[in-house]
Amino acid sequence: MIGTPQEPQILNRPATVRTVALSFLLAFVLMLLPWGGPWLLLRPDFMALLLVYWTVREPMLIGGWIAFTLGIFADVADSSTLGIHALGYSIVYFLSIHYRTRILSFYAANQALHILPILFVSQLVTALAALILKFPLPGWLWWFQAPLTALLWVALPTLLEHQPARDEHTRVS
């Protein structure tokens, strides 16, 4: 896809702070929708998904403190113990930064397979914290949260960039 001089290639353009902020706001609202019962257990972790996405795409924009703050907000919204999501998201951020180049060298579906372990680690951290704080673990459906979130990864570029899949060649920095 070659852009004309008047209209530069969308994908070459770095995401603006506004796009990133708006997408996080949207993810937050999605998270706050009235999920209940089994749907709550299956609710994808939209914030973690976007965190990985923007960290991989715009590592200069996203810092560790953003991950931490998002986590604190998620904790208050979910009325859980302050710090649990913050811990999970900090680890998600670190893993995304660490495996960034590797993730970028794949196509969308294969990228999703790399995102899955990152999301699983975040979920494990939450489960571990719950075990230590003696909260009961939710039902087995809850473990499908990470795979569902990873599935959403495939659709994410379409939603945010009007482009079905993204690979290294479309990313020129």
Binding site: L41, T81, A86, I97
Partner: protein
């Protein structure tokens, strides 16, 4: 166009160092919040920031509900109205009797020099949401405009006890349900006054009584009400019905499962009580018998024998 050049030399601390820092900060948050409960003000401040987003997220549900109500036929509303009228009439008898009984109890308490338990009228609150956290059993309520809600107040619905207000935020309040893992409440078997502690199982629709000795007189179908000895819940609120009692030779305690009376998820409104107001301002003396049936203490002693 926004162009960012990577900083090659001013990198700051390594990612691992930063990860360690943020993880330590998060763990510190968890410890301070969970153990020392010192982050209430901070949580309130953040809740103000996220309030608009909560409102936006509640919009679709509200729209669907309004549309549903608008479409609800007049016939259905009339039928519902009729049922409610009948129910009111059925309860009128009980209400009138309970007034007479209350005055009798007051007189007897005065005669016996016992302290009296007073319950203030409650505040009606609307259930806005179920907390988005599969690890806890909580609901979010919004009190009616003139009402004031305090942390620790009991919350009831038409059928019985729902839970307790645990967090008071500027725009809404969190109620921890009695089915939450960390909730314990003193109950009493309505049939014989046997007292016990009921604990949440961390899942909706079940409660358990883990510390009732095997020999106690309790059976499936027994009604459990609050005993009022903790000074938080007024006595006599309906709590649960015993579903099953299993006794085995291995354990000194019976395995008792109960079904809570209040169906939280089928209601829109709850009543926040103002809690028990002890006249002296301290917790009720547990050694002194409260306004309970005469046989209670004797039965409890009998039950506690090995």
């Amino acid at each position: 166009m926004d162009i960012r050049t990577p900083d090659l030399f001013t990198r700051g601390p390594s990612p691992l160092a930063r990860l360690t820092f943020y993880c330590a900060l998060a763990v510190a948050c968890i410890v301070v919040d969970f153990r020392f409960h010192q982050l209430g003000a901070f949580r309130k401040a953040v809740s103000i920031v996220i309030y608009p987003m909560q409102e936006i997220a509640a919009l679709p549900g509200w729209l669907v509900n309004s549309a549903w109500e608008a479409l609800d036929s007049q016939h259905n509303l009339q039928a519902e109205n009729e049922i409610l009228r009948q129910r009111l009439l059925q309860q009128a008898n009980t209400v009138q009797q309970s007034k007479a009984l209350q005055s009798q109890i007051d007189t007897l308490n005065k005669l016996l020099n016992l302290r009296q338990q007073q319950t203030a009228p409650g505040v009606v609150a609307e259930i806005i949401a179920v907390a988005h956290n599969p690890f806890v059993q909580k609901i979010v309520i919004r009190a009616s405009q003139d009402g004031e809600v305090h942390a620790g107040s009991p919350v009831i619905s038409v059928e019985g006890l729902v839970g307790q207000v645990t967090t008071v935020n500027p725009f809404n309040d969190e109620v921890t349900l009695i089915t939450d893992k960390n909730q314990a409440l003193p109950v009493m078997v309505l049939r014989n006054g046997l007292r016990a502690m009921a604990f949440g199982n961390g899942e909706p629709g079940t409660l358990s009584l883990p510390y009732v000795p095997v020999g106690s007189d309790i059976q499936a179908g027994d009604m459990l009400v609050t005993s009022g000895i903790d000074g938080v819940y007024p006595a006599g609120l309906s709590v649960a019905t015993v579903k099953s009692v299993e006794r085995d030779a291995v354990s000194a305690f019976a395995h008792i499962q109960c079904i809570p009376s209040a169906a939280v998820f089928s209601h829109r409104y709850v009543l926040v009580l103002d809690g028990v107001q002890a006249p002296e301002g301290d917790l009720p003396n547990l050694d002194q018998p409260q306004a309970e049936p005469p046989g209670t203490t004797r039965l409890l002693r009998k039950a506690k024998k090995p």
